[in-house]
Symmetry: C2
Subunit: 330 residues, 2 copies
């Protein structure tokens, strides 16, 4: 398989899971001291991932949680942010200025900054009071933190079972990538030169559709895209769909599934260029169905990791290069 | 001026303002009884308008307010929605099934449904406990409700002055439309046949950019668009901007202005096809500068009402017609 590194996939998951106990200790301390609310703060991809988890949390947790785009938080402010707030962040480089600004704003208000920043010497890491550092995807990192908060509140009874099964997570995601390889390769061959591509997703995959279209297809692959949530799709975008419009639907195993099915019923009546990536078609050995909802964004991310590899190959466009991002001052 | 009806513009504003005292009485009753939180619920355009106001509220009000897409609320649920919640809605037809579903879900949870629905005999109106009916834009309706809640909490000291000046609002918006007519006509002539158009907005105009691109350009004018917030623009979309990309920037007089200026500084270095609509360039006689922030979305809506008229004319595409929306079952 092209550019496929099983060890790296496994290592990413394991490094985050290995920090789980330390996260629990830190969360326990915060809970004992007492807190009013939690701010999930991100920008670009880290915002999208927080949005995925938020879509689950708002129906499942009574904790007062606010989802914030870092730049908007700094610009608009939030009256709920204060001394008894916990700001939860994730970042790879720790160099994104909007994140550092948001964290500084949070600190001014007295909030506790808690999160994962890969680069320990980065500006963001330096501002983070309760700091964890390791490689790996942002979703699992946020999940580890938020499940610990939910556990303390007695909201996630299957906590121990979840982490028993999480030992299989690395292998499960490797398996998803293997199973997705052929379909994603065919997808890349068909759509690699599209002049425009629509990505639709709902529920926990609204963030995934947004992130895939913007952070991967636009930023890294320089393809023109628009992402749209399943809910919003029926309030405007449907009108510009024609027979040959290129549409991808992300379908998960969460509360957004019925919304995705509605899009799936509508589209084939007018459009002939539809691809559906449904997490349900991929197997995660060792993980119970109960946890497939919570892991839906990770399964979809494993699928689109393979789309990336094949689009990069078909387009002859190394994903590392940027035109403007971090190249120009603005 | 093409399709310009001053009386209709004025009447829309006046009908809503005439209900202000009744809204105050209803809000006062709710506050005396006590409530935990307010849910602003909309879908499509009514969601976008709620998002505009929410962008202001979260920095200015200590009331616990949640912004929800109607379809997502029904699918995902929200643990904060209960007997002491107030659900605030607006709708013209009262026939949007996602809104009726969300309101029924809210009622099941015991929430009080409070809002404006133009059509008194519609399904949505029938589900609305505290019902106000009149023509006019959703933003002003939401504003009237939310300012009354803020007043009761002692959060909007300039309340009386605001409503004194609001008597000039109809004329002020007429003036904005007159001042915007020439520029919007030229815009339509230049961009009426664009194969793709980007609309960027931040702060209170993030919702305006979203709504203009999706509800007007896509749904009513069948133009391919993508809207993007000023914050998100720098986390992906910037990479696909080239010399001839068509970009419109919505710039307001709110806390999002600095973000819009950042986009405005960046774009001309690589793009030659930029239009900036800046609310600051348009005069609203009788309205103090103090209130221009809060009215930014209404000023921008007055500007894009003229874009609509001219795009419709250039494209020879009556805005009333739809391909699929309300034409097919889905």
């Amino acid at each position: 398989m092209l550019k496929f590194n099983e060890d790296a996939i496994k290592k990413d998951v394991e490094e985050t899971l290995a920090l789980r106990k330390d996260v629990e200790v830190a969360v326990k301390k915060i809970c004992e001291k007492g807190y009013d609310n939690i701010f999930l703060v991100g920008i670009g991809g880290t915002y999208a991932v927080a949005e995925e988890l938020m879509s689950y949390l708002k129906g499942h947790s009574k904790i007062e949680i606010y989802l914030e785009n870092a730049a908007d938080l700094t610009a608009e402010g939030n009256t709920k942010l204060g001394e008894k707030s916990v700001m939860v962040i994730t970042s790879a480089t720790g160099n994104t200025p909007e994140m550092t600004d948001a964290v500084r704003y949070g600190k001014e208000k007295g909030a506790t900054i808690f999160g994962f920043v890969d680069e320990k010497d980065s500006p963001l890491a330096k501002e983070t009071e309760i700091l964890f550092s390791c490689k790996g995807g942002a979703y699992l990192k946020l999940l580890v933190i938020m499940l610990a908060f939910m556990k303390e509140k007695g909201e996630f009874e299957l906590y121990d079972l979840f982490y028993q099964q999480a030992e299989s997570l690395g292998d499960a995601l490797i398996n998803v990538q293997k199973e997705a390889d052929k379909k994603t390769e065919e997808f890349a061959e068909k759509h690699g030169e599209d002049s425009m591509h629509y990505v639709v997703g709902g529920g926990m995959l609204k963030g995934a559709a947004y992130s895939y279209a913007m952070c991967y297809m636009e930023e890294m692959l320089w393809m023109r895209t628009k992402s749209i949530s399943c809910a919003d799709f029926f309030h405007g975008t449907l009108e510009i769909i024609e027979k040959d419009t290129n549409v991808t639907l992300f379908k998960g195993e969460d509360h957004g599934r019925a919304q995705a099915e509605r899009v799936e019923r509508f589209l084939p009546r007018i459009c002939d260029n539809i691809t559906v990536f449904d997490t349900k078609e991929y197997h995660t050995p060792g993980i119970d169905d109960t946890f497939r909802e919570l892991l839906t964004p990770m399964v979809m991310a494993a699928i689109y990791a393979r789309i990336n590899v094949h689009l990069e190959n078909v387009r002859k466009h190394p994903m590392e290069i940027r035109r403007y991002y971090h190249k120009l001052d603005y």
